[in-house]
């Protein structure tokens, strides 16, 4: 009988459960029998490089930051795609070339838009 082709996933889940549960269980037993827990206000405080933390972590970001996201996409993601494109340039079929041109055009459009909006001028 051949095993179900998905049987290995069951094994996978089993191992994935046992693997963390054993150390956690051992740690729990260790705490129970040897090492008394010593929590404290300082110890449990939020870690902020040794400085007392101020305010709330659940703050709102200014929505204007979407500009940074767009510029990041244009310059960074584009660069990542351009490098393999440049490497494979001579061996590319026409279809792939046009596809990457369309992609570049889309990003270029974003750049022109950002430029027109004045995001690229240095804030004074």
């Amino acid at each position: 009988m051949t095993p179900n082709p998905y049987f290995f996933i069951v094994i996978f889940i089993g191992v994935a459960l046992i693997f963390p549960v054993i150390p956690l269980g051992l740690a729990w037993l260790w705490r129970r029998f040897f090492q008394p827990p010593k929590p404290g206000a300082e110890k449990n405080a939020t870690y902020e490089c040794g400085v007392e933390s101020l305010g709330d972590a659940q703050i709102q970001f200014r929505s204007q930051y979407y500009l940074y996201a767009i510029i990041f996409l244009i310059f960074d993601v584009e660069a990542i795609f351009l490098v393999p494109f440049a490497v494979a340039f001579t061996g590319l079929p026409v279809g792939a070339f046009i596809a990457i041109l369309v992609f570049l055009l889309l990003l270029l459009e974003g750049l022109v838009w950002a430029w027109g909006k004045g995001c690229l001028t240095w804030a004074r």
Binding site: F34, Q35, P36, K38, G40, A41, E42, K43, Y47, G50
Partner: protein
């Protein structure tokens, strides 16, 4: 958990049986994976960095994983001048480390204020606020000295007891794991030292 008779252990080893105790196993594991907290304060930190880099290679002793968070660190290497501005942060970092935790006081500055002892802004030794396990004299101590201190710490860990009345501090419920953080006073840190911890020897004249 009781100590094994050395003669019996040697006898068994000759027969191909390796005997160990839980305490030995525990200390062996701990002493070979001491993760220091990643921070440096002054010139001594440069030597600490050199110790961590390939030439001196603290990884040979299991201490290469410098942790950027106190939650994952076992060892605090106070490497450099502790200013009074910085001292509360150091104590807070020490407090945030989980037990068991150790402190190496590296260099003249961390021990006593060193060359800047007369400075109005320099703490005269980090052992005023946190318990120090190993002191390294020098200005700065060479990387070999830090390695030596590391090995001394390993020796200390190796000798910690898992049970009994003289068991290791982190296993005793009555021993504190946190120490009070000093506050900025008008002229000095307040208190100027942790009186429970800092008992310098009286000088007999």
């Amino acid at each position: 958990m009781s100590d094994i008779d050395e003669g019996l252990r040697g006898e068994l080893q000759r027969q191909g049986i390796w005997v160990t105790s839980m305490q030995e196993l525990y200390n062996w594991g701990r002493k070979n994976s001491i993760w220091p907290l990643q921070f440096g304060l002054a010139c001594c930190a440069i030597e600490m960095i050199a110790t961590a880099a390939s030439r001196y290679d603290i990884a040979r002793f299991g201490g290469e994983v410098f942790r950027p968070s106190p939650r994952q660190a076992d060892l605090m290497i106070v490497a450099g001048t502790v200013t009074k501005k910085m001292a509360p942060q150091i104590v807070r970092l020490y407090n945030q480390m989980p037990d068991p935790k150790y402190v190496i006081s590296m260099g003249a500055c961390a021990i006593s204020g060193g060359p800047f002892k007369q400075g109005y802004n320099v703490l005269k030794g980090i052992d005023r606020y946190i318990p120090v396990d190993v002191y390294i004299p020098g200005c700065p101590p060479r990387p070999e000295a830090l390695l030596h201190a590391f090995m001394e710490l390993q020796r200390k860990i190796d000798e910690q007891k898992l049970s009994g009345s003289n068991k290791a501090e982190h296993l005793r419920p009555d021993q504190p794991s946190e120490f009070p953080v000093p506050a900025f006073g008008a002229h000095d840190l307040e208190p100027a030292a942790n009186a429970d911890l800092f008992r310098p020897p009286e000088i007999q004249r």
